[in-house]
């Protein structure tokens, strides 16, 4: 009797185990390109029956992707992970943390908010050694580690957040066949890009599609432009000082960067619809000009997520492609890359949360998402051949080859600037206001925060 009972329990366990394994997107051990050793190593953490709640900004398709990664953690350690996504993540995490019902792990889309919560004592420092690990294993690791390093309620700096999943922002999107038809080459330097811009105008075309509209966040695409220009005109140290406001917003260096953006955006001949259309065009609609015939524009500078707003059926790499937003050849600043990334932070002392951060340090956690879509990582130990398509690999290469990586500056500035005065200032500037006046107005707002 007991024997049959044991037998049936064993069979049940087997069935349950195999069911779990079937949920995994890529069955362990099958594809030799994956780092399965790092997956097997996770099994040493036995946390069967524990629960872990994760709150993040990803919904629908993105949610399915993140859950496909979490499944590996669940099967390896036995933890029951509950991911929930919210489009108002920024508000919800504050409400949940303040009210005392935080998720175990939160996925911050920008470091500024995480730093605020760390200061109020809502985040728990990560385990010792995580900081060193990021510095050693991520390309431009010092920059990455710094974005998760905040001052805690005790006034001491700790590593509070673990960067996982990067977005590359320094990209210019174009239609290769339109380039072929017109005989244009992909520019390698900023000087070439400016020459190409003038060339397209001389040929009777319009080079750029630029749209700043984004509902309540109108103006943010221009902040990315200015940040990219900052990195191409000034040293990374100047950029860091600017983000901290040690370099004033109305400094000539910053004004020069704003005006360099204006070189592209404030010339009626350079922008589809004329300079007046820049501020009123929605950023989600602006890339569509690339795909009309004849093309309304040839170039569009936007981050790696923008293909989701391309017309249905567009194949990246064929119908549309991108190149690195190039640096000036005559300024020895290397290949700066502007980007963003999501930060995983702990809000409770749940031991499963620590295990989860350890999981994120294993190559397999990156490779599973890499092999699908919409994921690039600065992690050097992963196998770049796994990238689901050539486009992702190219983006990954941009990240790995970056001599300088800098996080989206407006996400690091105080909310009143980075999600306020900077946005509205850029709308004013695109509308024709003087760069110096705009910069002074933003600096004046910043002064009132001190």
């Amino acid at each position: 009797m007991t024997k049959t009972l044991f037998l049936s329990v064993a069979t049940l366990a087997l069935i349950a185990g195999s069911a779990g394994a079937q949920d995994l997107k890529f069955s362990p051990g099958a594809d030799a390109r994956f780092d399965w050793a790092s997956y097997e190593a996770l099994k040493s953490m036995d946390l069967k029956g524990q629960k872990l709640t994760v709150l993040g900004p990803w919904l629908s398709a993105d949610k399915d992707l993140v859950e496909s990664v979490l499944a590996y953690f669940e099967v390896a350690t036995g933890v029951d992970v509950r991911y929930s996504g919210s489009d108002s993540f920024e508000q919800q995490i504050v409400i949940d943390a303040e009210a005392g019902s935080p998720p175990d792990v939160a996925v911050f889309p920008q470091p500024g908010l995480a730093a605020d919560l760390a200061k109020k004592g809502h985040l728990k420092p990560l385990a010792e050694g995580v900081e060193g690990w990021i510095k050693a294993n991520y390309a431009a690791g010092d920059s990455w580690a710094a974005y998760g390093n905040y001052t805690g309620p005790d006034g001491q700096a700790h590593q509070y957040a673990f960067p996982y999943k990067a977005d590359v922002k320094s990209l210019v999107w174009y239609v290769p066949e339109n380039f072929e038809d017109a005989g244009y080459e992909v520019p390698q330097t900023m000087e070439d890009l400016k020459t190409l811009t003038e060339q397209i105008v001389a040929d009777g075309g319009t080079p750029w599609c630029i749209g700043l509209g984004s509902g309540g966040a109108t103006g943010w695409p221009a902040t990315d432009w200015v940040e990219d220009m900052m990195l191409r005109l000034n040293t990374p140290a100047d950029y860091d000082a600017w983000v901290q406001n040690d370099l004033k917003f109305d400094d000539p260096k910053v004004i020069a960067a704003i005006e360099d953006f204006g070189w592209f955006a404030r010339n009626d001949a350079f922008v589809s619809g004329g300079a007046g259309a820049v501020a009123s065009t929605d950023f989600r609609d602006s890339p569509k000009g690339l795909f009309t015939s004849p093309p309304q524009c040839y170039l569009h500078r936007q981050a790696s997520f923008i293909p989701s707003f391309f017309p249905e059926g567009t194949v990246i790499g064929q119908d549309a492609d991108f190149f690195y937003f190039p640096a000036y050849a005559d300024r020895d600043l290397g290949q700066p890359v502007l980007g963003a990334g999501t930060m995983f932070a702990k809000l409770t002392d749940n031991p499963a949360a620590d295990a989860f951060i350890t999981f994120l340090q294993s190559p397999i956690a990156h490779e599973v998402w890499m092999a699908q879509t919409g994921f690039v990582t600065p992690y050097k130990a992963v196998n770049p051949d796994i990238y689901g398509d050539a486009t992702l690999k190219k983006m990954g290469d941009i990240l790995l080859n970056a001599t300088t990586f800098r996080f989206d500056g407006s996400d690091l500035m105080p909310g009143a600037i980075g999600a306020g005065a900077f946005w509205t200032g850029m709308v004013d500037y695109a509308g024709g206001k003087d760069a110096a006046a705009v910069a002074q107005a933003i600096q004046a707002t910043w002064d009132t925060l001190k």
């Binding site: 919904l59 993105d62 005392g100 019902s101 609609d285 009309t292 707003f309």
Partner: protein, 377 residues
């Protein structure tokens, strides 16, 4: 006399016309949304909804076949096929993005390396070359076409077929029905007491209730959730019922109290003289007489809870098992929003139940809207 009557009639006409115009103006956006919900994403991006009933002229491209599709024909290699979708008419075609309408239908055009391309008016194309094709990517044939008006129900299929929508529908009902009934129960008692029972501090209490009407509920989210966590209620249905009850009570009490105060004093006093207890008066006289006000508040509260997303995300959580319908619809819009066709279809799916409720209880709403505004009404 006749002159005055004429002015009057004209005035009536003017009022009616103005009212009609306002109604039309008011419904145009909803109508536009309804039309948009039947158009696909590219149509919405390309033209406004008012262009829907007209034939649309558009320029785009179609890829020709690749090397895998070629057939030898004599000493030529040929790729052929069809570029038009059913119903489309070809106006012009081209081979480069810069001149997408360079050639007329039926023309044959010489390309590089002895290749030639012709596109017939019926949409059949023929690409020929003296040597075998090697392309793995079909060349672009640009077409200027007219397309007849087209509507699609795909958006509705996507919304209604969305994962977890059925469950979310039930969740929304689980939230909405108690969150409508509980406040009415409490508010009816409170309103009776504030209207007809004599006790010290009554006027102050009424003033406090009116004062609570102006407190935005967003202010209370964090303290209230904190309280729920501290007393062990946490996130769940109990918590959201209480939250909705709390947020709905000030308006409910205010509305019902003003209605009940207008009921004829004589009835209540004669009931008291006849020896009825307060509860009997409430149950036998006040409740039946207040039915229009109760129904109109029920509609308000039902619609507000049905459409709510904020309170649900805070007090119920985001997990699949607890997600309300507005939450599922929001998920369909994706991480960055911008899928207008889904938004439009979602709006009409979620509107269905409130419309039913509204039409079922509409006659009470009209009476109840006047609740408390006229004495004796």
């Amino acid at each position: 006399m006749g002159g005055i009557a004429g002015t009057k009639a004209r005035l009536v006409w003017a009022v009616n016309l103005a009212a009609l115009m306002l109604v039309v103006l008011w419904t145009i956006p909803t109508f536009g949304l309804l039309v948009s919900s039947f158009r696909d994403r590219d149509q919405i991006a390309a033209s406004g909804w008012w262009r829907t009933p007209f034939t649309a002229e558009s320029t785009g491209f179609v890829r020709a076949g690749t090397a895998a599709d070629q057939q030898p024909e004599g000493d030529l290699f040929v790729i052929s096929g069809m570029v038009l979708a059913p119903g489309q008419t070809l106006l012009a075609w081209g081979t480069s993005a810069r001149a997408p309408g360079a050639f007329a239908p039926g023309e044959t055009v010489a390309l590089k390396d002895g290749q030639a391309l012709s596109v017939a008016a019926d949409g059949h194309y023929r690409l020929t070359a003296p040597q075998a094709f090697t392309e793995t990517r079909g060349m672009r044939i640009f077409l200027t076409t007219t397309t007849p008006p087209r509507l699609t129900t795909d958006n509705y299929a996507r919304v209604i077929g969305a994962e977890g929508l059925g469950r979310a529908f039930l969740n929304t009902f689980t939230v909405t029905i108690p969150a409508t009934v509980i406040p009415i129960l409490i508010a009816a008692f409170a309103a009776y007491a504030l209207a007809w029972m004599q006790f010290p501090g009554r006027a102050l209490l009424i003033a406090a209730v009116v004062g609570l009407l102006v407190v935005p509920l967003q202010l209370a989210l964090i303290p209230l959730l904190k309280l729920h966590n501290d007393i062990g209620l946490g996130k769940g249905y109990m918590g959201i019922w209480l939250a909705h009850t709390g947020f709905g009570l000030p308006l409910a009490i205010y509305l019902l109290r003003n209605y009940m105060v207008g009921l004829p004093r004589e009835i209540i006093e004669s009931a008291r003289v006849d020896g009825a207890t307060e509860f009997q008066i409430f149950r036998r006289i006040i409740l039946p007489l207040s039915f229009p006000a109760l129904a109109s508040f029920a509609i308000f509260q039902f619609l507000w809870v049905w459409n709510d997303l904020l309170v649900a995300t805070v007090f119920l959580g985001n997990s699949q098992a607890q997600l309300v319908m507005t939450g599922v619809l929001r998920e369909l819009l994706g991480s960055r929003g911008g899928d207008w066709e889904i938004l439009a279809a979602s709006a009409f799916v979620s509107i269905a139940v409130p419309l039913l409720v509204f039409f079922a209880m509409q006659k009470y709403l009209v009476r109840g809207l006047l609740a408390g505004s006229v004495k004796g009404g």
